[in-house]
């Protein structure tokens, strides 16, 4: 339940998509808790459902999708139960989102100044204050010379700069939660590190929570306090980033970390997770990872495991979580 620490609770979220080939069970019983002022990472591969979870929080799912179960509680208020008008007030003002491709969130025919003003005025900020607020926001995202940027058009700026502006726009109404969906995937390594450092500074300065979604474990490691690992539509493990990455409890997380070439010796074989990501139209019964798991037993194929505490700070959805060793 929502304690004083929790800002956002996603409870029991179940999402289906209607497709030509059948019903796609995109999200199954997703449970997520974002604390105040924390940066929570959401990591997963293709088909894990991480992006769709973010969209569900803002009830921005595509036409053929349906949330059949679940609640999204923003400080106790269920966002899924709100009507469009209410949601419009919340989006951008209390919960904001930044996407992977900055050039598609910025309109190419308007200057930066006009786009930022639009954002502020649509959420009823006093017109007199707009210009100074805009400059303040641009400084907040690291621009040392905001006036130069204001008169530019998006295509005149680099990818990193565009993403920073997208962040500035997302922060303009001081949201309590910022969702960043693969914000650095399209950027170079160095720019990526800068943006991640920026996200941390923003959190420190404003106290906002950040939900950082990525398929890149390195990004999560660099920026997140805690991490939630998703596989085939459910959360399989949650915990402090350092602990989860050093000592993963779920076998999928373990497999993922082992498959990274970080410390492996040249010429040696990288350990690979057997099998492949399952179809979500006909997902495996019980634990969706069981066909690929070397530790699966009979109960794993029968009943889906729930997220339970295993180590002091960690939650895992597994009947046979990995031991403390290694």
């Amino acid at each position: 339940m929502t304690g004083p620490q929790e800002l956002l609770d996603v409870l029991n979220l179940k999402l289906l998509f209607r497709t030509v080939e059948g019903t796609l069970q995109a999200l199954e019983n997703v449970e997520l808790h974002i604390r105040r002022g924390e940066i929570l990472g959401l990591v997963g591969e293709t088909g894990s459902g991480k992006s769709v979870t973010a969209l569900s929080i803002l009830k921005m799912i595509p036409e053929n999708g349906r949330i059949v179960e679940g609640k999204v509680l923003l400080q106790g208020q269920d966002l899924l139960a709100q009507n469009e008008e209410e949601l419009r007030k919340i989006r951008g003002a209390r919960v904001s989102i930044v996407f992977q491709d900055p050039s598609s969130s910025l309109n190419p025919v308007y200057t930066i100044r006009s786009q930022m003003r639009d954002m502020l005025t649509s959420h009823q900020v006093e017109v007199a204050d707009v210009e100074s607020r805009v400059i303040e926001l641009l400084r907040q995202v690291g621009f040392q010379n905001p006036t130069r940027i204001l008169d530019s058009y998006p295509h005149e700026l680099s990818g990193g700069m565009q993403q920073r502006i997208a962040l500035a726009i997302a922060l303009s109404c001081s949201p309590e939660l910022l969702i960043a969906d693969e914000p650095t995937t399209a950027l170079d390594v160095v720019t990526q590190a800068q943006i991640l450092a920026l996200l941390k500074r923003i959190r420190d300065a404003t106290g906002a929570s950040i939900l950082l979604i990525s398929h890149n474990l390195g990004v999560i490691a660099m920026a997140c306090d805690r991490v939630a690992v998703m596989y085939a539509g459910s959360i399989v493990e949650v915990g402090p980033t350092v602990k989860v990455f050093r000592n993963p409890a779920h076998h999928y997380t373990r497999g993922l970390l082992n498959a990274l070439p970080r410390m492996a010796q040249k010429g040696s074989e990288l350990p690979v997770i057997y099998g492949s990501i399952p179809s979500l139209i006909n997902p495996p019964s019980g634990c969706r990872f069981h066909p690929r798991c070397p530790f699966a037993t009979e109960i794993c194929s029968r009943e889906r495991p729930k997220l339970e505490p295993c180590r002091p700070d960690q939650l895992v959805a597994c009947y046979h979580p990995a031991g403390e060793s290694q």
Binding site: F17, T19, V52, P62, G233
Partner: protein
């Protein structure tokens, strides 16, 4: 979907025309003076014309002409225009300039006017009408194909083929053409409808099919003056033109929707 049904009907009729027409000889042109100007009846559902010929038979036989002319014109235009567009788009530079300037010249004429001028030089007749129409139509396909080729030649799989050592000729045939053909096909089916109308127009003004051919445009033209008293024999051919033009239009629309990948379902995590 509707379009396909109507077209299928027409195609069927056209193929089996001589068998279906109740009075095939009259359909082809044999006059039957005693039967002049009979209104629609059970024996002659569409009535008879000024020479006593059964209008229904004439319309049925005319379908053969309209369809075959339309298809020939468009196919010829595509055969001429597509390779030119592919060459212009793929090689660029001077070749592109030359081809596109020629294309522009053709396109700067109002098409029907150009067709008339060409026909005037060649002399009236159905075959010449087909040739002139093809010659006015090909530039459109060159334009479409060139645009497609320009965007496709940058694709990674085209680069991959170059790395393999595939010659330009084969790249055009194997990779560019099949991937560029969709807009051409869609345009082609929509143009079929315009081609029918264009050909009917040319025949209407006397430059296309000549008497006693049961061509629909010609029938409307010769029947014009009788519209008030003997309405049936310009009207039915006119309706036939209308119906088949609409049918091809619907078909083209439907084809575009099926072939456009954006109208397909999808979702990914």
């Amino acid at each position: 979907m509707c379009g396909i049904a109507i077209i299928a009907f027409f195609v069927f009729v056209a193929i089996f025309a001589p068998l279906l027409a109740p009075f095939p000889a009259e359909g082809a042109g044999l006059p039957n003076p005693p039967n002049k100007f009979l209104p629609p009846s059970f024996v002659h559902p569409f009535g008879t014309d000024y020479l006593g010929r059964d209008v229904l038979s004439r319309v049925i036989l005319g379908s053969q002409i309209s369809l075959s002319v339309a298809v020939t014109v468009i196919v010829l235009a595509i055969i001429i225009g597509t390779p030119l567009g592919a060459i212009a788009g793929y090689f660029g530079g001077k070749v592109d300039d030359v081809i596109m300037r020629v294309t522009d010249v053709f396109l700067s004429f109002p098409s029907l006017l150009l067709a008339i001028i060409l026909l005037a030089t060649l002399g009236p007749g159905l075959t010449n009408a087909m040739i002139s129409l093809s010659l006015t139509w090909w530039p459109w396909y060159t334009r479409i194909m060139r645009a497609q080729t320009v965007s496709l030649r940058e694709r990674t799989y085209v680069e991959a083929s170059k790395v393999i050592g595939v010659s330009d000729f084969w790249i055009l045939i194997r990779h560019i053409l099949p991937n560029a053909i969709t807009p051409i096909l869609v345009q082609g089916t929509m143009d079929l409808s315009s081609a029918i109308l264009a050909e009917a127009a040319l025949s209407f003004i006397g430059l296309g099919a000549q008497a006693p051919s049961p061509e629909w445009g010609l029938m409307v033209s010769t029947g014009r003056i009788y519209i008030l008293n003997y309405w049936w024999f310009p009207t039915f051919p006119g309706l036939a033109i209308f119906a088949i033009a609409v049918a091809f239009n619907l078909f083209g629309d439907g084809l575009r929707e099926i072939l456009d990948p954006k109208t397909r379902r999808f979702v990914e995590g």
